[in-house]
Symmetry: C2
Subunit: 261 residues, 2 copies
């Protein structure tokens, strides 16, 4: 099968003519929103609801709370960050390390972050919507390999292109093409940004450089280091440690469930 793969290096790079309603879209925010969603999913979070602002997050939690006043543990956990830091009054920040089974198992999570949840919103019209990270690269590839129209959306950092997200976009393209023509030219139809992302990934491997070092060089990585979250870079640089993916449940709603392979 020859598939088409388009990449938006930031959400605003989504081409006006792209037909999202026919596409399976993959959202990437390596540092850290989609790594968090993947980690929280594995840890047993029931649903992950993403929203763009703090006010909306409180509203969703309050609504859910009043619906189920008899079941106090079902109140959603408020999660996310602003300027990399936890948000006042929220339960969890945006570090994958916080999303342990004892904290999240069976709980709904309401997540708002600076870049990742905005990228999800930008691609909401997609037919399918998935959240990818290096942690679940193989599961991502498995989930989309029979899709003819793939749209990858890199969250970027504050509107700017961010190397770490572009690397993962390239890694997904590279894996999808592994079964094709071998290490040379991809067999899929790539748009220009997809070709560029693929190049960035291929080039990052020569000379041998650990993924963690590449992520530390990136705009997202430098911001995390500055904010004191250096160890999260290593956590998000693990490849294929989680065998499942967070996928949107209903079209039009930013509600995700973790699907094990």
């Amino acid at each position: 099968m020859s598939r088409s793969i388009s990449v938006a290096l930031t959400p605003s790079g989504l081409a006006p003519e792209c037909e999202l309603h026919q596409a399976c879209s993959i959202i990437i925010d390596v540092l850290r929103a989609t790594s968090v969603m993947t980690t929280a999913g594995l840890a047993g979070a029931k649903r992950m609801i993403t929203c763009e602002n703090i006010h909306a997050a409180f509203e969703i939690a309050d609504q859910s709370d009043s619906e189920r006043a008899d079941q106090p543990p079902s109140r959603p956990l408020l999660c996310g960050e602003r300027h990399c830091k936890p948000i006042d009054g929220f339960d969890l920040g945006n570090s994958p390390a916080e999303y342990t089974p004892d904290r999240v198992v069976g709980r709904d999570i309401v997540l708002t972050t600076t870049n990742g949840t905005r990228a999800i919103q930008a691609a909401m019209r997609s037919r399918r919507l998935l959240a990818a990270s290096f942690l679940n690269l193989a599961a991502t590839v498995a989930a989309v390999e029979s899709e003819p129209h793939l749209q990858i959306v890199c969250a970027g950092t504050n509107g700017q292109i961010s190397y770490e997200d572009v690397l993962l976009a390239g890694a997904i393209i590279d894996r999808l093409n592994e079964s094709g023509s071998g290490p040379g030219e991809p067999t899929d139809h790539l748009d220009d940004s997809a070709r560029i992302a693929w190049s960035a990934w291929r080039q990052s491997l020569t000379p041998a450089r650990a993924l963690e070092e590449s992520l530390a060089l990136s705009l997202g990585g430098r911001n995390l280091i500055e904010a004191g979250y250096t160890s999260d870079i290593g956590r998000c640089a693990q490849i294929d440690t989680i065998d499942g993916i967070a996928e949107r449940v209903d079209p039009g709603k930013a509600v995700f469930r973790f699907v094990k392979r």
Copy 2:
């Protein structure tokens, strides 16, 4: 010297915080505006005046005409394209092949194109402003190698990232770093988009693929082929055939002169 290199993969990718007034900016529209400017410069064009729309081009020409009514040959040549095609009432289109010495020597040129002249406008506040192409890659590198703050602006195609411009951005970065650390990691400080562009260039060379083939794959290349200008791709894929560069003369005015090395 450690220099900083930033790349805007499209003009709208110029970071809000970038300090253009301190930067030396390099405008890239490989297919074809900056290749045309380089070719016209070598062919002896006196000044190259770029503008964003057809109306402004006619105004500039008329104004210049009335100033020098006694010297008819000094009327500027109206040059450019819309949708890759020549513009009604204009003297020359946007193919480098048209810019021969017998047509342009000693003449002013007024150029308006879909993407290239807009990129120039977006970077107008720069301290220095140069027009680069593969034709004059070595001259470009020589012109900027002592600049501490380089801003490369890729014109792209109709607002989208275009592979051919990103390749040249990467080639410039690669050449600037050749004298540094060798083939491995650049010694310059690269922003994320600069690193991505550099990767695209490095990767385009393996496995060995002629630059012309890479340009033909690009968004700009595909558009040119569709419009019937396939041979221009080969013309713009020559490396280091012209030893000079078009540089803006006065800050704030889009007037360029070709400077031989």
